[in-house]
Subunit: 340 residues, 2 copies
């Protein structure tokens, strides 16, 4: 039923070898023959089977991507960047949603491994050992995660991450200069590697300024978790003196915003709020959210590049910067006072 290369060869009156060579542009075939073959292929509407080709060449022409949550705009942008960069090279993209579940993620790795040339794991929830193990199946690029190992990295492992330091220290400096003296960080899930990076960056920046930092952990990184955290922050702000909140990502920041409002707090009137990722379209939040921005899309493109050119062991870095909008304001206690 399907039109194979043998039917094309027959139609063109040549052997399958010649047909294959003619279609793949080998120079060892004379022009007149090539024309005949191509004409036959067009006439029969022939499309070569990627499966068969992959089987013999050993390269499949597609890569697998595993994300913790397709729905999250950060991963969506990441995926868009990745897909665009790979699609431009005519490479296919297999996706899997791990639902932040390591077992599921591992199953996806196994499942995909035999039909991709490489795997991109975004914010992987696997253990270092599991990741190293995956490496023995296919080349792997970690995005938004790095191995803890100080030993030499597996040869077939690449890493691309967002460097949160510049953005988060800028955020702390910004809040400090606005007179905020007690910050609260609403963290994401404890296993998250990037969450830890953020905690470190914030802790560093705060201690450099002698500012106290309160860290509030959550189990998920979504709107709902942010909301309950927001309510709690509001309830305890009177005691602990928190006047500014930094959130793990923008979705949680929106949740915090909602939680604070439910508790009768105004942003930025009562508390200032800083998000992360700059994943919200203009005007999507009200007030517009001050956020630590970085391009998830750029991260995706970098990951694509890394999986195609495995050379280079150093981690690829995408920088962050603070994007000041309307959700941060001078601390109430500091209002009217001269600028520091």
């Amino acid at each position: 039923m399907a039109t194979t290369i043998r039917s094309v060869a027959a139609a063109a009156g040549v052997s399958v070898a010649t047909a294959s060579r003619a279609l793949s542009g080998s120079p060892a075939v004379v022009d007149s023959t090539r024309r005949r073959v191509i004409q036959a292929a067009i006439a029969l509407d022939y499309t070569p089977s990627r499966l068969a080709r992959s089987l013999v060449t050993g390269s499949t022409g597609n890569v697998g991507v595993i994300l913790p949550d397709i729905t999250n705009p950060f991963y969506t942008s990441f995926l868009a960047g990745l897909e665009a960069a790979l699609g431009a090279q005519d490479i296919g993209v297999l996706i899997g949603d791990s639902g932040e579940n390591p077992d599921r993620e591992n199953r996806l790795v196994r499942r995909m491994s035999t039909q991709v040339d490489g795997l991109v794991l975004a914010s992987s929830r696997l253990s270092d050992e599991q990741i190293v193990a995956a490496t023995s199946r296919r080349p792997v690029v970690l995005a938004n995660r790095m191995l803890e190992t100080s030993e030499e990295l597996p040869k077939r492992l690449g890493q691309v991450v967002i460097d949160v330091h510049p953005g988060f220290t800028a955020a702390v400096n910004h809040l400090s200069s606005l007179g905020h003296r007690q910050l609260t960080y609403v963290d994401g899930p404890a296993q998250s590697w990037s969450g830890r990076q953020k905690r470190i960056a914030l802790t560093l920046a705060c201690s450099a300024l002698g500012l106290p930092l309160r860290i509030r952990s959550t189990t998920r990184a979504d709107f709902g978790a942010g909301r309950t955290a927001g309510r709690q922050v509001a309830a305890e702000a009177a005691q602990d003196g928190t006047t500014a909140v930094i959130a793990f990502n923008d979705q949680m920041a929106l949740g915090v915003l909602a939680g604070l409002r439910e508790a009768g707090k105004d942003v930025p009137g009562d508390l200032s709020l800083v998000g992360c990722d700059d994943s919200l379209e203009d005007g999507l939040a009200w007030p517009a959210l001050t956020t630590v921005g970085s391009s998830a899309r750029a991260l995706g493109e970098l990951a694509a590049h890394k999986i195609l050119n495995p050379m280079g062991q150093e981690a690829g870095l995408i920088p962050t910067a603070l994007i000041v909008r309307d959700s941060t304001e001078r601390a109430r206690s500091d209002r009217g006072a001269p600028v520091a």
Copy 2:
């Protein structure tokens, strides 16, 4: 290097045929043998090659999905539903972003066709003929789009759509009962099938009530297009008397919201606003957006079901309903007047 079924067979001391049977659970293999083979497979960390299997069985175990824009939350939810439903059956998902470009979409169809068991085209930008042509390669499920053809449908074509009528007529009735007498619909791209459905539903509902409807078309369905449309609506509202706006989708509604605000208009004070898709997380918009809701996720799940069980020619339907929130309010001209 890779561990193949032959190495497993050798290790277990059986032929490849027996190894294959043992692993695929054929009853024609005695238990003791099966155990030996399985042990060998585990010892060698054997994972069967999907490629090789597909080549001979003719079924690949994955489906392709083509979306106009991965970044759009509607398609993201759709994709999430689809991936979840297919993943549960251990079916892989290949994605492609057409960028709303028919040529690109066609290339993706060709590219994927040899490595998937079926194709899901979401809001396809292809012509009816092109879609029918794709059908001859693989079974196709159209999502959010139907063929115009009155002739018999190709046997291998399924359709799943969102039935916009209930939601949109409810929206019109809702606005009408609030005293709005001139509505403006901010449409999406003209080629969009679902856009046409929405125009039809609105026109019908309005004429049933004797309400005039102004339709404003745009070229893209994103925030930016909504914003410029919002500015224009604000500028002309004084002349044409528009007091309520319905948007093609929530992203555009947010754009319209931003555009109106830039022009000094308040929502819902000056104008009421209705979105579509209910794609925004709780509290993501301010004020919370009244919207015509339907579950893109459910549509994705239905598409997954349809591609797995091709039986049934009738289009699958996902209903819509109006979700009233805070962006719609009694028309200013009508305030203080008794409720109709």
